[in-house]
Structure formats: structure tokens, C-alpha cells
Assembly symmetry: C2
């Protein structure tokens, strides 16, 4: 039946989240989760259930202070949100308010164009080079803002500070957002550039290196004027942004630097030997500074490997997207998980070659 | 320094959340929190800290199923979000997409005009009658949508189903949102009207009657087509909407109907005697079906009482807004808390009269 009320419903391209398979025996290497649990320190604390009756602190003061202290910035330089997706969505809405197109790579985090569409922000997506590197010159053109992840996703490629500086020097009239979701796995953060660039916003998450995807904690660091602007927008949506367990456990996790470093080192060393083994099996991939690699096989289509691995209970990520549909994004799990994947691949490839 | 990047920052009227005083001895009756803790059942369960490394279920399946079962609706009629503020913000964005003004009362939940401004939705605010009742005829005019809380906030007045039906019958071409944040404290829900009105969306929260403000859980119930539309918008922002502790504890709390009923009955009976005592002290207020009353004193300005109570460590809410600036919104706490407030008021009023 055609009812008039349908006419005013906002139409959006529905975003389809990655598969969340359930089951004990699944090896889940498809959503870049951390294979090690969060800091054991958070087991020592628990939000008093009695306190759940009370609203959370709308200013998230404890968590903001802890993040500021951790990075050596002022508390008025820190904005927190419900995962970096929330932080980035609010940043798009707050800072990309021009009629000129914003710029981000054609191959990058898949939410950027979703937010641009949702908020009716014009955008252009300069193509990555053949080797999947960002071409800085593409970002010299007039624009309404710039955003990219560093390391980029799903490529894992990390650019150095000279590269970031060059982009910033060519974009002094717009906000430049560097999405550092994966920076802790070997890259160098642009945080040290903040004193020189008042239009730089750096976005981070607790979901990867801090192993707290289940709590939804993200944050942004930038000059206080930017932080105030994004807070005003966020509080207009929902003044109690993060719930009590997130505020409490997020704050505690920042105190355990030893565990944080230890698990990151483990992931990096697993990545190193896993990359070597994958090369032996005929895979190639850009040099990764993230907790995943982006791999293609010399002979076998990525889609086939993806389906076969899934049937064997090993989930990796495949994107049916132009230019990258022959690649797999594989999260770095534990040594045991990666060995299981390698052993599956070895068998699969040798069977494939015998066909 | 005037930098061009400032030009494209979205300007919003910053929302100022209610005071969140800290301190042991404070009596906090200013944000309509529930004085009784959430169901003791939630103490028996706790999210395994190890699992916090994993993303939450993006479809929030367990919680959605539990809410659907609780209300006897289908699971595809339920949308969940980070508190009812998140649900309402998404509903505004999804359903109020017309160029005609949406309608809501001049005196009502203070976020409605904030969202309308944020999303550039035109709106009109028909005046409540002198007795603070909504005048149904004001909602017969052409519009882009209708939203109001029932019971209304901060008045506490609840309208019956004939009233709601009348509004719906005059608004078949737009979405009508009934915000039932306070419905469990004595009102009759419009849920039973859902089979007759496909354009009706009912919004609820776990923050008041379920005493879980600290977890941020809200939901909407409506026809599956509306639910799909709002999900698409929500997932465009952030596909992992609610964190693991919220999903787990929210689901468990729905199982404890006995505790739920018991605490609501306590609040209603406290409200009944508190209203009687307040009348003796010279206060008047509309009949409340919420966990607060909206009171004005026959002689003493509300602002003075507000300040004096605050100085004595008792927080109630005062709005510096035309027509209601001589009223106080007082949350119904425990008997002991309300006695403390009454005893303060008695002393304060008699001192005031001796001046």
C-alpha cells in the first residue's frame, strides 16, 4: 500500500557489517580484533551494579584525563566517543561542512563514503597508486577536508611523518583527519605534529591495540577549539555518550603499559614470521604496520581461498570491490591460529595445484 | 587568528547536561534516576573480561529478542540504541525528512528542538494549555511529523489512549513518535495501538523504570518497515551500536519482572504520599504519572527554593524557561530521601514566612 508517510523516510545505503560467526571452534581473523584479552587489570575492577542506576559522567572526565595524561596533552585536547566510528562520524558532521568535496583514497576504510552520503557531504576518492600507496599530489587540489587512515586499511601501509607533513602543508585551510586506528602496531603517530598544525585531528581507538572492541571506546586529539566544536555536536545527539563500564574499564586499561607493550610485541612478531611463511606459499602483500596483512596469491583467486577457509572454519575478510577483489585481509591472531591457517592454506594450495 | 578552516565547522547550540554533583551526602533528585538499583539478577552475571576483545553483536540479537518477547511483538519490530536519546536522534533523522515543520509541545523534553536544529528539520511548538495539557487540535494542522512524550516531561501529565488515537487519526501521512520514557510509572502504553497504526513509533528506555541509566539502553517498537529504515540510518553511523555489558545486562534485567514491579510500586506509593505532603506545604502540581512531580509553590519563587535546596545538598531541577521558571521538577527518590526534602522544605518555608 502506498502511504504518504513513506515519502519522508531518509533513504540510505544500508551498511552491512562483517560476519560475526558464532561457535567455539571458529578461527576468527576477519575483523581485526586482538587475539589477546584486554589488560588483566580490568578484572580487578568492576562497575558496582548499584551504580548502574545513575547516569554516566557526561563529560567522561576520568577517561579524558587518563587519555590526556597518557599522551601528554591537555584534557581540553581530548574528545571521547562510542568507538572511533562514533568519533569519526561526529568529526565528519562537525568539520566537513563545506560544499567543496572532501578527499579520501578510493581504497580505504569503508565507512568514510557511508558517512559522506549520510550527511550529504560531497566527496572525491583519488585512486591509490598501483602499489596501493597514497599519492600526495592528489591531495593538493582544492577540497572541503581530508581524511585517511594511517596505516591505511585494508592495505596496512603506513606513511611517515614527512608524508603527513606534506599533506598538512598543502591543506592549511581545511581540517585534516588522520585515523590512527592501527598506529600502535609499528607506525609513528602524527601526535607530535599537533603543536604545528591547528587543523589536524587525530583519531584513535581502544578496539585494536587495547583489545577492547567489546566496550566501544574511541577518541580524538586536536586543538581545543576543534575539540569544543565536536563536543558541541556530540552533546546535541546524546549528552551521556559512553556508559559506565566503558568509562571505568577504559580508564583502568591505560594504566597497564607493560601488558599493552607485551601484547603488541607479540602481534608484531607473529606478523613477521607469518609474512615470511605466506611468501613461501606464493602470497604477496604490501609491508604491513597494522594487525592484519592484505594478501593476494600468485595463482589462486582470493574469493576461492576465502570460501574454502570459511568452510574450514577460518574466517578472513574479502571485499568484492574493484581493484582489491583478489585480496584477503587477514587479521594477525595468536601463533596457534596463524599456524592453523597456514596449515590449511598449504593443503588447499597443494590440492589446487594437483587439480 | 582568522584561519579559513574555521569557516566549515558546524555551529550548534551546545546542549548543557544537568548537573552531576559528586559527593556522598548529596540527595540527587534532579535527573529522574531510579533510587533503587537495577535487578539483583544482573549481579549474578558479568561479561567475561576476556570477551571484551571481541566486537559486540551488531544486530544486538539477544537483547532485541528479549525485548520483543517481553512486549509480545516480533523481533523485526524492535530497534535498540545507546539510550533513548540515541534512538530518538536516529528517529528524527530517519523519519522527519520533510520540509514541512514537525510538531511538538512548547514545554517538553528539551532535546527535541536540539535535534531539529542539528538536522535542520523545521519545527513548530504549539503551546500547552494553561493547565499544561497538550491541545490535540494543535496537531491537526499539516506537518512533517509529530513527537511528544507520554507522560510529558517535565510536567508528568499522561494522556489516555483515546487522546493518542485522536492524534494518530489526524496524522496518518506522517510518522508519529510517542516517547514513553516514563510510561511504566502509571500510564497506559500505546503499544496496543501498533496493529492499527503503521506510522506509529514508540520509544522506551531502560534508564528510568529499569534503573539502568548508567548502561545507556533505549529502544523503539514499530512496524518492521519503520524499524528497517531506522536501522539502516543507525548502522550508517556505527554498526556496533551497543557495547557488550549493555547487551548482556539489558537482556538479563528483562527476566526479573517481580523486582521490576516491586520497585515501580514503591516509587508510585512514595509519589502518592509525597504529593499529599507537598500540598500541605503549599505546593501545587499537575497529576503525575511519572517518577517525578512538577511543582510550584503558592508564595515562594521556585528559583529561591532550588538554590536553597542545593546549598543544603538536595538537588532538584529548575528550568529557566518561559512559563515554567516558577516550577521545580523533583525526582521521586526513596522514602527517606523525600522525607529529608520535606523536612528541609518545612524549615525553609517557615523561615521564609517569618522574614
Amino acid at each position: 500500500m502506498l502511504r504518504k508517510w513513506r515519502a519522508n523516510i531518509r533513504k540510505v545505503e544500508p551498511y552491512i557489517p562483517g560476519e560475526q560467526p558464532k561457535g567455539e571452534k571458529i578461527i576468527k581473523l576477519n575483523t581485526n580484533e586482538n587475539p589477546y584479552g584486554p589488560s588483566p587489570m580490568i578484572r580487578q575492577v568492576q562497575e558496582d551494579p548499584e551504580n548502574l542506576r545513575l547516569y554516566p559522567d557526561p563529560a567522561a572526565e576520568d577517561l579524558v584525563n587518563a587519555i590526556a595524561a597518557y599522551h601528554g596533552v591537555d584534557r581540553d585536547q581530548v574528545f571521547v566517543g562510542v568507538g572511533s566510528d562514533d568519533v569519526l562520524a561526529m568529526a565528519f558532521l562537525t568539520f566537513f561542512n563545506s560544499w567543496k568535496p572532501i578527499l579520501f583514497p578510493d581504497i580505504t576504510y569503508s565507512f568514510y563514503n557511508v558517512w559522506a552520503e549520510l550527511f550529504r557531504i560531497p566527496y572525491k576518492r583519488p585512486e591509490l597508486a598501483q602499489d596501493f600507496r597514497i599519492r600526495p599530489k592528489d591531495y593538493y587540489q582544492e577540497n572541503g577536508g581530508v581524511v585517511f587512515p594511517n596505516p591505511n586499511a585494508p592495505t596496512g601501509i603506513c606513511e611517515d611523518l614527512d608524508f603527513i607533513r606534506d599533506i598538512l602543508d598543502h591543506n592549511t585551510d581545511v581540517i585534516v583527519i588522520i585515523d590512527e586506528a592501527y598506529i600502535d602496531f609499528g607506525g609513528r603517530s602524527a601526535l607530535e605534529l599537533l603543536p604545528q598544525y591547528e587543523n589536524l585531528l587525530i583519531v584513535r581507538t581502544f578496539s585494536k591495540s587495547r583489545s577492547m572492541a567489546g566496550l566501544r571506546i574511541g577518541y580524538a586529539i586536536g586543538n581545543p577549539e576543534l575539540i569544543r566544536a565536536i563536543q558541541d555536536v556530540k552533546y546535541s545527539f546524546n549528552s551521556y555518550t559512553m556508559n559506565r563500564p566503558s568509562l571505568l574499564l577504559g580508564t583502568v586499561s591505560l594504566k597497564d603499559e607493560a601488558y599493552f607493550k607485551e601484547t603488541i610485541d607479540k602481534i608484531i612478531s607473529t606478523r613477521t614470521w607469518f609474512e615470511r611463511e605466506m611468501k613461501h606459499l606464493g602470497f604477496s602483500f604490501p609491508d604491513s604496520q597494522a594487525n592484519f596483512i592484505f594478501a593476494t596469491h600468485e595463482k589462486i583467486p582470493a574469493r576461492d581461498i576465502f570460501e574454502a577457509a570459511k568452510a574450514a572454519g577460518i574466517y578472513v575478510r574479502h571485499f568484492s570491490q574493484y581493484r582489491i577483489d583478489n585480496y584477503l585481509r587477514i587479521t594477525i591472531g595468536t601463533d596457534a591460529q596463524m599456524k592453523a591457517l597456514l596449515s590449511f592454506l598449504e593443503t588447499y594450495i597443494s590440492e589446487w595445484e594437483r587439480r
